[in-house]
Symmetry: C2
Subunit: 162 residues, 2 copies
């Protein structure tokens, strides 16, 4: 995978991708891993009539219920227009309900209904299994160190305070 | 973020997401980080007329040129139908050329043209900058350990040999 040319180094610039190699480039590895993670949940999601945006909204609400829509968009990593459509469908399916924020008249908060919580509870064993499979053979201390690095990285790249 | 309820543990099952907390759930952190990574490159991609699938194909080909389309789909984490459309456009824009595989008549190999390589070279400084920003404050040995864990994880989840 290494670039064999003579111009692999750029003394005045960043290292070249061919020099790093794809298999050492963290964003590449993370994209591939998350691509597999999402793909491996797709069958279970479809069986429950869920899409990736709906699933992420459910998982977020299962942990922090009653969050504002704009925060939910950030937590769930779904664009706000996509999220709004997903929430419309989820409200029709009685998975969530929306309420005006009592302290901010322009904001709406989203709550999981019992139906929504049941849908998440049906998905969670599959998510937990995929998660466990992902870390197979990775000792606990290595996983903890990995998560600490991820937290630093999120802190570096995030543009919201939450 | 911790679930305050009494039913946070499931003695017979996996840990509950509320118990782990979103900020300790690696797939959540990875989705958020990659969401920001991809978003922060979007402006530069648009300026060059690139989309995420095109960009990923370019980056992959910049490292392993002449790869088969089905392998490119895996490396670039783009579904094969989406990739085929992107490659059609990239061929029209003279960024890539496709050639029959000399050893497998059913397969097609994809090569970067000089125009395609130039497009990637224009993007790479932005990718390298985003990559460096992501790891700000993370010491080299921690980053190396992080990448080693990612490699183990990819090895666990991948379904292809490459």
């Amino acid at each position: 995978m290494k670039d064999q040319g003579n111009d692999t180094t750029a003394p005045d610039g960043p290292p070249r991708l061919g020099e790093l190699g794809l298999s050492n480039f963290a964003p590449y590895l993370m994209n591939r891993i998350m691509g597999r993670y999402n793909a491996s949940l797709r069958a279970e999601m479809s069986a429950l009539g869920l899409t990736t945006p709906k699933m992420r909204a459910l998982a977020t609400l299962a942990v922090i219920d009653g969050v504002q829509i704009r925060q939910l968009a950030v937590y769930a990593v779904v664009e706000q227009s996509t999220l709004s459509r997903a929430l419309d469908q989820m409200a029709n399916e009685d998975m969530i309900r929306r309420e005006p924020d009592p302290t901010d008249s322009r904001a709406t908060r989203v709550f999981l209904t019992d139906t929504g919580r049941a849908a998440f509870e049906s998905m969670w064993p599959h998510m937990a299994k995929t998660y466990a499979h992902m870390f197979k053979g990775v000792p606990d201390d290595e996983r903890r160190a990995f998560v600490l690095t991820l937290q630093k990285m999120l802190n570096n790249v995030r543009i919201h305070d939450f």
